[in-house]
């Protein structure tokens, strides 16, 4: 029988445990602060690296400890979307160009503008990095840790074997070379075409290259006159070329190919060309089918006007509005965004770096990374553009656009109808933004 005294003791114990449990989340009695950090593009190697960097930070700041939470990538955004509204449990978090719009809109992210004013590291950031950290409303919701930008991976042996002196420099070249290299009977294909998830990105990049002279660099879906790139007559030519590449120089089943199939197709030697982000460099170095001398990268493909657009994806670290330890969180973000921590993180994750000094590093000047330096040195030819990834409806758009691209490849919609639909979609969205 539970006596009253025992019941009171049990209640007391329960309270003590609960209270001590709660205080462990915020900090200890000795003044240590415990930061909760949530990453979203989780992968085991990156998590291990991040933990090493956090250990260095803790050594430098003995009064701060960091608890890293690493949900699997596929569920990370949803987890964060559940954690952020509650206003607790997250201090520092990974924010991406695609999530910053909706999350800041909902008041979940802290504006670090004022906090970073006194940070000397700000001036060491490249223009690109500083631009990416400042949103359209002038606020800083995250500091990028690097950029994801595509380049053309190609097979040196297959290109030379088909009688070409140089890798494709334009989309027309890609059509010629992939058609020449493709031989289905030998299971050899030209271009690792992306028809599945994320395929719309390559289409918009291609259309961008065709209208590069008139593109609005702050919104890669707009022309300088305010109309959408999809309304331009060149967009139709671009899609014609794209369809030809699919029919003449790509695996037929690539309607359903997305990242894993494309990378596998190139790394197992089935395809000659691949348009991908630099993290593939590390994957290809591990490939058993390809020798190091068989492949390298070339700069992005140009349109008929001799220019290419380079949409850079980005992600970085931000602070939750609900965090009770913003000063410590700022300290951590500053640490990760400067010096050795930033360089190590960018190099090990194959990212275009955020620090000016990194471009001088031999790591970026040689081998497969050289094409990135070429592109960076010719900003008039390889025009940096920002895609409207921060639009709250970007996920809706990406799902719609992916399905539309597959419709086009399966012959269920014409290029003309698709472009008219995309033009109408964005024009309506921009009007609703104004209204």
């Amino acid at each position: 029988m539970l006596t009253r005294r025992r019941a009171v003791a049990a209640l007391g114990l329960a309270l003590t445990v609960t209270v001590s449990g709660c205080s462990a989340m915020g900090g200890g009695s000795d003044g240590t602060v415990r930061l909760q950090m949530v990453e979203s593009l989780t992968n085991p190697t990156r998590t291990a690296l991040l933990k090493d960097l956090l250990a260095d930070f803790e050594k430098q700041n003995p009064k701060i400890t960091v608890n890293l939470v690493s949900p699997p990538t596929a569920q990370a955004d949803q987890k964060l979307q559940q954690m952020l509204p509650s206003g607790s449990g997250v201090d520092v978090l990974e924010v991406r160009d695609q999530t910053v719009g909706p999350w800041s809109n909902n008041g979940w992210l802290h504006d670090m503008g004022k906090d970073l004013k006194s940070w000397p590291g700000w001036n060491d950031l490249t223009d690109k990095a500083r631009k990416a950290s400042t949103q359209n409303d002038g606020k800083t919701y995250f500091v990028p840790y690097g950029f994801y930008g595509a380049s053309l991976f190609y097979r040196k042996d297959l290109v030379a074997g088909a009688g070409f002196q140089a890798p494709p420099a334009s989309w027309d070249d890609l059509l010629k070379q992939s058609s020449a290299i493709q031989d289905k009977s030998k299971r050899r294909y030209g271009y690792a075409f992306r028809g599945g998830q994320g395929g719309f990105n390559n289409v918009t990049m291609l259309i961008g290259a065709y209208v590069a002279d008139r593109i609005d660099t702050s919104n890669a879906y707009k022309l300088k006159d305010g109309s959408s790139i999809f309304s331009a007559p060149e967009a139709s030519d671009a899609l014609d070329t794209y369809l030809k590449i699919f029919k003449q120089g790509a695996p037929p089943s690539s309607v359903a190919w997305s990242y894993p199939e494309m990378v596998e197709g190139f790394s197992n030697g089935s395809t000659a060309f691949l348009l991908q982000d630099p993290e593939v460099i590390a994957t290809l170095k591990e490939s058993k089918a390809l020798g190091a001398d068989q492949w390298t990268t070339a700069p992005l493909l140009k349109g008929p006007g001799g220019k290419a657009v380079q949409p850079l994806g980005t992600a970085g670290w931000g602070i939750a509005q609900g965090s009770k330890h913003k000063a410590e969180a700022v300290k951590l973000i500053e640490f990760l965004s400067q010096g050795a921590a930033s360089t190590t993180f960018a190099q090990k994750n194959s990212l275009v770096p955020i620090l000016k000094k990194a471009a001088e590093d031999p790591f970026y000047r040689t081998g497969a990374w050289a094409s990135y330096v070429t592109m960076a040195n010719s900003p008039d030819t390889y025009v940096d553009v920002t895609q409207p990834r921060d639009a709250p409806w970007f996920t809706e758009w990406s799902q719609k656009a992916d399905a539309d691209v597959q419709k086009l490849l399966l012959g269920k919609v014409t290029a003309k109808a698709l472009l008219a639909d995309w033009d109408a979609y964005w024009t309506a969205k921009w009007q609703s933004e104004k209204g």
């Binding site: 299971r187 695996p251 037929p252 199939e261 197709g265 089935s270 996920t395 597959q406 399966l410």
Partner: protein
């Protein structure tokens, strides 16, 4: 209820009623044939409530509250892109679903997905259960091997099949070509019709196991004497199957089919792993479509779809159980 009757202890075996503390040793008034009714006091009620409270609170907080909270989103504008406006919109989310061009495709896909998966699963699963019922060497090993797929996550199976059905470097086309059954590789996941076939094949492979497990357990409960008697009466294999085996395990069969229909309906993992609902959204079923809508941030519409799904499954279960019960009553 017959189970209640079976559990009732015969009156002569009942222990004498313990005197209630409040009654000061006075025996509780007898009710019925030898049954003593316990005195129900406020104190006893509180004790019962206290014992029940943890379970009630747990279920209320972790099951019913999320259900109600999720359910009310269906009648609101609830979009993650802008949570500042969560106004009540009545049935707008439902109307949006009915007017969505994908709704028809999703419904017919769901029906095809459920029916085309469950029939072969039942037939193959039943056949395997019949085979495993017999005693033979290494039966335990075979059983373990057959049950193995059930232990793997649906999403993982999806990813495995995605690679197996890859047209250029997948094992399926490779085997078909080596066997001389096809000349050109089939673009399994690039053609909507083949893609649907591919995910159904994957699902059949995955779900056969559950039928085998359930039906084997039921088959093992049939006494051997019945089969011996049937054999003595000259019953053949087919007649024994339809007149003894199937009637004997009918309850398990009915419930297994019902459970599987609900589970297959609610099983987006595999499709998500293999096709992601593509190409051109043509392999979406209700649940994969719901995930897509959730990813777009439109929780209101996704929640409305969820409610429609629950209602649909509820009506199905009701009709199914009524139909199977009528059969039973008509027979008895």
């Amino acid at each position: 209820m017959d189970t209640g009757a079976a559990l009732t202890t015969p009156p002569e075996q009942q222990r004498p009623g313990r005197p209630s503390r409040k009654g000061g040793g006075r025996p509780a008034p007898a009710a019925g044939a030898g049954r003593r009714k316990r005195e129900f006091t406020v104190r006893r009620g509180l004790v019962i409530a206290a014992f029940m409270a943890p379970a009630v609170v747990f279920v209320a907080v972790f099951t019913y509250y999320p259900m109600v909270a999720g359910g009310q989103m269906a009648f609101r504008h609830w979009n993650l892109a802008d949570l500042t406006d969560r106004s009540f919109v009545g049935l707008d989310n439902f109307t949006a679903i009915f007017h969505d061009p994908l709704w028809g495709t999703v419904l017919s896909n769901t029906a095809v997905w459920v029916v085309a998966s469950i029939v072969p699963q039942l037939v193959i699963g039943f056949a395997l259960a019949l085979w495993l019922r017999r005693r033979f060497r290494f039966r335990g090993l075979y059983q373990a091997l057959i049950f193995f797929p059930w232990a793997i996550s649906g999403f993982l199976i999806g990813i495995l099949f995605r690679w197996m059905f890859n047209s250029e470097f997948g094992v399926v086309n490779d085997l078909l070509q080596k066997a001389g059954l096809i000349d050109e590789p089939i673009a399994w996941l690039a053609d909507p019709k083949f893609a649907m076939t591919a995910i159904i094949i994957a699902n059949i492979w995955y779900g056969v196991t559950f039928f085998t497990i359930m039906l084997l357990a039921a088959l093992q409960s049939i006494p051997d004497e019945i089969y011996e008697a049937a054999a003595l009466d000259g019953s053949g294999k087919v007649r024994t199957l339809f007149q003894i085996t199937i009637p004997y395990i009918r309850t398990t069969l009915t419930l297994t089919v019902l459970l599987r229909v609900i589970w297959i309906f609610n099983f987006p993992d595999l499709i998500y792993g293999v096709t992601g609902g593509g190409p051109n959204n043509e392999t979406h079923i209700v649940t994969t479509w719901m995930i897509n809508i959730t990813q777009q941030g439109d929780y209101g519409k996704a929640s409305a779809l969820g409610l429609l799904m629950v209602a649909g499954l509820f009506v199905f279960s009701l009709f199914y159980l009524m139909a199977t019960r009528e059969k039973k009553e008509a027979k008895s």
